[in-house]
């Protein structure tokens, strides 16, 4: 070890190292160790091993923090900060990666696409997310963001012979690159104001200025535009429905939960870190964006007939709820964001997994008609989908209710009664379009007799997401304690 790479640095880097190492190894093992098509499923085991090692690293960091009684520790001279927030979000990313990888095997078989690159990209994207949640340096954060985004550009266009997949990838790439440009511009202004890329130094430099300083506003506005693109809130949401619809369904699932959670972790770090002193400026701005997001997301979802597109608009509206937690800005709101993203990860993944199961040799299975009569054909899938949709709508006793409850409670604590009322009103709209799917599943006649795709991984993933969606709703205490640990405000 040297002065540039101490044992603390290594300790902070282990999960990312494991993800990168296994990501590269999976790419090579595809050629050298498991070349035959029948051996491909071992790649998933290998990916699971990498995620397991990364999770072990996270657990050791958590044990270290709690045994020493520390709130956080920094590595690489403050470029990485390991705290409850980082560990919580990294746990979400690892769980999402593992679940998506489990269901991808069967899906890729049906689509007839490559396996090795896909699993490698999942691990490398997860590596980028690690730096988004732990990074406290502008350069580290930006590189982490790009690492994640580039992996997603490729995965969205993974079906090389599908026009829609290619179109989605190009749209996502162009808009993603454009938004990264905005973000880099905002970062350069922050660096110009502080003379440092460390978030702590920038916080101090911005706090020394007035909240209405034009340069602070320039930094806030451009950074916010870049971040809003990444979390797909109105008016920067246009890429999301197209990218979600065209991408392979497994990638859509991954994109909609992991990328969104990572981008929100990044957004919360920036808004509660460097930009905290300009709070009086961004609070009304965020409130307006959140209300616009709820409006567009919920109203556009009503008319959709493609379920992937419908879920894309629903995920836009969920981003609006998460933003409301930040608008409230109190510890309950920040805890609410963590709970919301945790719950959203499992319920949204679950809903997309049912669509993955609906993809069969000759049937795309993403239109509303493809779901009709699911109850008669496969009651297990229909009931699971019902649970996920109830949770997405926020109806007790599912986990989605706990998530929305904290956001609303935070708003009421912050005396934002109007916002709370608007958010509650849109739940009614959401129930309407989620129940269009339910009606189609339970009332209509089955459109085809083809049985659903099934594999051990798919059954396991559906079981885990379904179980967690119910479990967090029925017995939320341990999960709330975890989220409590992740609150950044002190």
């Amino acid at each position: 070890m040297s002065e540039f790479y101490t044992s603390v640095d290594h300790f902070a880097l282990v999960p990312a190292l494991m993800l990168a190492l296994f990501g590269c190894a999976v790419l090579l093992f595809d050629f050298f160790v498991f070349p035959a098509p029948r051996q491909r499923k071992w790649l998933i085991l290998f990916l699971a091993l990498g995620i397991g090692f990364a999770a072990l690293g996270l657990v050791r960091q958590y044990m270290f923090l709690s045994s020493e009684g520390l709130a956080e520790f920094t590595a690489f001279r403050g470029a990485l900060t390991i705290d409850g927030f980082a560990i919580f979000f990294n746990g979400i990313f690892l769980a999402a990666s593992l679940i998506v990888a489990l269901v991808s095997y069967r899906y890729l078989e049906i689509e007839g696409e490559h396996h090795g690159e896909y699993y490698g990209l999942i691990l490398l994207a997860n590596c980028g997310m690690y730096f988004l949640a732990t990074g406290t340096d502008l350069v580290t954060l930006f590189v982490g963001l790009e690492l994640m985004a580039v992996c997603f550009y490729i995965m969205v266009g993974f079906l090389r012979f599908d026009k829609r997949s290619n179109e989605a990838a190009i749209k996502y790439l162009l808009l993603g690159a454009f938004s990264s440009g905005f973000l880099a511009y905002g970062f350069s202004v922050m660096y110009g104001l502080a003379g440092s890329t460390r978030l702590g130094d920038i916080t101090a430099a911005l706090a020394a200025r007035s909240a209405w300083d034009p340069l602070v506003f320039l930094a806030l506005a451009t950074t916010a535009v870049g971040l809003f693109f990444k979390v797909s809130v109105v008016p920067f949401h246009m890429w999301a429905p197209d990218a979600y619809e065209g991408a392979p369904t497994t990638v859509t699932a991954y994109l909609s939960v992991a990328s969104k959670a990572a981008s929100f972790a990044f957004l919360v770090r920036i808004f509660l870190g460097p930009l905290i002193s300009a709070r009086e400026v961004w609070q009304p701005l965020l409130a307006a964006v959140a209300v616009a997001t709820l409006t567009v997301g919920n109203l556009a979802a009503v008319t959709q007939t493609n379920v992937k597109r419908l879920l894309a608009y629903s995920s836009i509206s969920h981003a609006g709820y998460v933003l409301l937690g930040l608008v409230a800005g109190n510890p309950t709101g920040i805890k609410g964001i963590a709970v919301y993203l945790l719950v959203y990860t499992f319920m949204n993944l679950g809903a997309f997994l049912v669509l993955v199961a609906l993809r069969r040799r000759d049937i795309l299975g993403e239109e509303l008609e493809d779901l009709s009569g699911l109850m008669h054909k496969s009651p297990v899938h229909a009931v699971l989908m019902l649970i996920f949709l109830l949770s997405l709508a926020g109806i007790p006793p599912t986990a989605g209710f706990i998530a929305k409850y904290y956001i609303f409670w935070a708003l009421i604590q912050a005396r934002e009664y109007v916002l709370a009322a608007i958010a509650a009103a849109y739940v009614a709209v959401a129930i309407y379009y989620y129940f269009r799917i339910v009606r189609s599943m339970f009332v209509s006649e089955a459109a085809d007799r083809e049985p659903l795709a099934s594999s051990f991984g798919l059954r396991l993933a559906l079981g885990v997401t379904g179980l967690l969606t119910v479990a967090i709703g029925v017995y939320p205490e341990p999960w709330l304690a975890l989220a409590q640990n992740s609150v950044l405000l002190r």
Partner: protein, 118 residues
């Protein structure tokens, strides 16, 4: 606003005014005599054979991307070579990690057949 930037703004303003003024003046003074020969790409050169926007094989693009990767690699190796003695074994280890990642990509591209022409 920082005052140090004033000369830059003045320069930008002057450049804009100068360009508009000169082009505007030329527009007023010059005679206008458009012709077909004048529209050609090389008015006084060799006659154009065909359109430059022809189709060429996509393989050039793969080779070009591989070239860019290894070009960037050398850019990263140069500063290390300059500070080789000061960085010591730590620098060697860092560069080894960097090269290992690139070599994984190289092996992948090779096994995928990116370097085979047909």
């Amino acid at each position: 606003m920082p005052e140090g930037y004033l000369p830059i703004f003045a320069l930008g303003l002057f450049a804009a005014i100068f360009a508009v003024a000169v082009l505007g003046l030329a527009k007023l003074v010059r005679p206008s005599a458009p012709g077909e020969v004048k529209q050609e790409a090389y008015e006084c050169g060799i006659r154009a054979v065909s359109d430059s926007r022809g189709r060429y094989t996509v393989r050039f693009y793969v080779v070009a991307i591989l070239f860019v990767i290894f070009d960037v690699e050398t850019i990263f190796l140069f500063p290390w070579a300059v500070y080789y003695r000061q960085l010591g074994w730590f620098g060697v280890a860092e560069v080894a990690v960097f090269l290992a990642i690139l070599i994984v990509g190289y092996i992948w591209a090779y096994k995928k057949g990116a370097l085979e022409w047909i």
